[in-house]
Symmetry: C2
Subunit: 204 residues, 2 copies
């Protein structure tokens, strides 16, 4: 069993009556000149009523003797029929804070137990197209703790995730290499790598 | 006239027959165990047939005597009813390369004329939810050129964009400040800033 055994069997339009997780929205708005216009967009149906975000992305950094490494995941994503490279991530449960969701998802998806060190602003994934958003939560993992010696993910029966780590300092080159191997790069990790690259090149 | 005069008048469900720019898709796929499952996602209807991306984001860096600055934009986005902070960006036209789209959009949206210096892997904005994607194109702007002395955007009549620049080295703090002022941070610029921050803190 490997995530590369996943494949699309068929695709087709999804009728509104049938949709359980997604929806299309028509917004009528007034532009700065007072002109009335419309805009089409997509939304998740799953955001809890009291939440201001759909989910969290987790920047989990391991302090290894050879240097800092970031935890990444390979996962088959049906919307693009590819294996993606993403940070650990997940949707918020009702009543949960972003930080609680991050610690829970990191444990479930990777087995590691960590402590939150930073919470990002709310970030919008593609705000001309959809309202989906997240906070990036930085989690520090103490590798000397007994529970982090042999981390075991607790995946749901429809989750298939491969966890791996890459050196932070080479993240841009790793993304290019993974793309050359046929993987799809998530924009959140791709532009994060781009920021590291620019900081290194321009000595920021 | 100011982009902050924009506002939502009403929102409602968008019927599939009426949608011109977006659509919902149902994918039937086989998981690694051979189990047949379905997944709901959203797509743009505008990607040209011969294109592998929807659009481009532009990392345009100005080399000023006081330090490197990045060009950002404020724009009202109806899907979230907020003013966003984004890099200059745009959709690909049919027959156009990513690099051509970047130079064209940068000129249209900011007035600056630049030269492409780097093309990113294809990045997927939210691949568990939608198939939208882009390449980030780095563009170098020669500030000594006559055409870059007094750059004038050429916006379409339904585009309302405010262009500004911020120091690259402080991008994370600038994002936090802009969020505190009520702006929404696009994930592509937010995680780019996060990469710079991490590279600085960890001395990558």
């Amino acid at each position: 069993m490997s995530i590369s055994d996943s494949k699309v069997l068929s695709t087709g339009p999804l009728a509104e009556e049938e949709a359980r997780w997604t929806k299309l929205v028509k917004t009528t708005y007034q532009d700065p000149n007072g002109v009335t216009r419309t805009w089409e967009s997509a939304e998740r149906r799953t955001r809890p009523k009291d939440a201001d975000i759909d989910g969290v992305g987790i920047v989990a950094i391991l302090d290894k003797p050879t240097g800092k490494e970031i935890i990444l995941q390979k996962q088959y994503r049906p919307p693009i029929d590819m294996i993606t490279i993403e940070v650990p991530a997940g949707l918020i449960d009702a009543g949960e804070t972003a930080e609680q969701a991050a610690v829970r998802e990191l444990k479930e998806e990777t087995g590691y137990v960590g402590v939150v060190t930073e919470t990002s602003p709310i970030m919008y994934n593609d705000p001309g197209f959809c309202n989906t958003n997240l906070r990036m939560i930085h989690v520090s993992i103490d590798m000397s703790l007994p529970e982090n010696q042999n981390p075991q993910p607790e995946l749901e029966e429809n989750e298939f995730i491969e966890v791996f780590t890459v050196p932070l300092a080479n993240l841009w080159d790793e993304c290019k290499k993974l793309e050359a191997e046929g993987c799809a790069i998530d924009a959140r990790i791709g532009t994060f790598a781009e920021g590291i690259l620019i900081a290194q090149r321009l000595k920021l």
